[in-house]
Symmetry: D2
Subunit: 140 residues, 4 copies
C-alpha cells in the first residue's frame, strides 16, 4: 500500500476547499450517497484545486500529460445525504519524483463526513509513465 | 486508517471469483475504466460472494441489517479497458466483532489489474450500528 | 410515448437556467460526456429549479411525495467535453392532473448541445401514485 | 424528435435478449434503480447484441467507427430493484442510410418493467459523421 498519509480532520490544515451539492443520482437504496460516488467528488475538488493554483487540468492534458490514479482510499465517517452542500478540503499531501498524493476532508456545515487520499502518477495519453511536471515537483 | 490487509496478487489465495465484463459506460476520456468504477465492481463481486456462501444480501437486508462501507481502498496496477472480461477474486480477509474486511484481486486472463480492500460494519436501516450476524463472525 | 414536447433551442423560451461544470468522471472512451450522464444533469437542474421557485425537493420529500420519472428523452446534438461549463435551461412544459413534463436545453457559451424532456408523476415513498401537489398544478 | 418507434411489450417481437443483474450501486434513495442507470443497461445489451450477430463493438471500433448516440428515450413502467435479474430484449428497429434505431424491452420474470429506444449514427474517432457499415445497412 503506497498511501501513507492519514488526512487531518481539521479544516485549517487544508489550503483549498471546493463546494458542491449532493445529487439525487448519487444516493443509493440506503438513502445515502453511495460509497463509490465520493471518488468523483474528490476528483472534482482536485480539478478545482489545480485550476485554483493556475494549472487547470485541461492545460495539463493539452501538454500531453494525464494524471492517472495509482491508488485511492476513502474513509466514510458519517453519511452524506441528498441535497447537502459539501465542502471538499484539498491538500497536496506529498510529492515524490514520479508520483504525488492528495489528501481530502469532506465536511457539511463544519461537521466531518469523510476523509480520503488519492495517489497519482503522470502518463502520456497512451499510458507511458513520465516525470511529474516541474511546477508540481516544486510544490512538494 | 483501519484497512491493514494487503491483498494477495495470487489468485490461489482467494476462495471465490466473480466474472463481469467492462461496460462502455465505465470508461473515461483516458480510454480506460474510470477509477471510481472499480468500487461497484468490488460490490458486485461481494454481493455474488455472499450469495455463493448462502447469505444473499437481499436476505441480510430483509433481516433488517445493512452492511455499510466504513473504508474502501483500491490500487490500480494496469488499466481495465472496455469489453474486457474481469475476474474479481474475493476473500473475507478479517472479521472483528463489529466490522469485517474483504480483499479483492482483479485479473484479466490471469493478468493482475488491480487489488482492493473494503471494510464494513453492520447497521440498521436508519443507520444505527449493530453487531455482525453470527454466521459472519463464525466465518472469521 | 407520453412525451410530446419538442423543446425549444432558444434560451429565451426558458424561465430558469442552472450552471454546472462537466466532471472528468462523466466522460467516456469517445472523449466526450457519456449519453447516460445527461440525465443526472437534467435532474440537478430540475432540483435547482424547484428550489428556485420555492419548492425545494427535500421539502417535497418531507411531505411524503416523491416525483418519480415516467419517461425521459434526450437529443444529443453536439458533444459535451470535460471541464466545459454548461447552462441547463429548464422549463415546466406541461402539467396534467397526474403528471407533468419538464423541457431542457443545454448550452455552452450559448451554443446548443442537447435538448431533453422528462415526464414525472407523484408517488408516496412506497410507490403508490398520488395527485400532484396543488402548487404544481397551479403552475400549469 | 427523431425517435418514432414505440417498442413492443411482447418479448416475442425481439430477436435477442441479454440478461443482467441489478447492482446495488444502481439504486437511489427511492430504493429503486435510478432512471439514468437504464441507459448503460441498454448499452450493455446493445453491445451483447452486436457481439451475438458477429460484429463485436470492439471490432467496429478497430475499423475506426464509433456508434454515437443521437437520441435516447426510456419509459419507466414499473421500478427495477436491487438484485433483480433483468432480461433486456433488443431489436434493430430501423436502419436508414446514416442512422439506425434500436428498441428495447426490459422484463423481470416475464413482467414488463421498461421500454426504450436509442438512435445512433456512425462517426470517426474525432467525431466526423460517416456512412453506416454495409453489414448494418443490410440488416435494415
Amino acid at each position: 500500500m503506497r498511501i501513507s498519509a492519514d488526512p487531518s480532520t481539521d479544516t485549517a490544515d487544508y489550503e483549498f476547499a471546493h463546494q458542491l451539492r449532493v445529487r439525487f443520482a448519487e444516493t443509493d437504496a440506503m438513502g445515502i450517497v453511495h460509497h463509490s460516488r465520493y471518488l468523483p467528488m474528490l476528483e472534482e475538488a482536485r480539478v478545482a484545486y489545480l485550476r485554483h493554483i493556475g494549472h487547470p487540468y485541461s492545460a495539463i492534458r493539452a501538454e500531453g500529460i494525464e494524471m492517472n490514479v495509482l491508488e485511492a482510499w476513502c474513509q466514510y465517517r458519517k453519511p452524506l445525504e441528498f441535497d447537502e452542500v459539501v465542502d471538499v478540503h484539498v491538500d497536496l499531501a506529498r510529492v515524490d519524483r514520479a508520483s504525488f498524493q492528495m489528501g481530502y476532508l469532506l465536511t457539511v456545515d463544519g461537521e466531518v463526513r469523510a476523509t480520503g487520499v488519492t495517489a497519482h502518477g503522470a502518463v502520456t495519453p497512451d499510458g507511458r509513465p513520465v516525470r511529474l511536471p516541474t511546477w508540481l515537483r516544486e510544490l512538494g
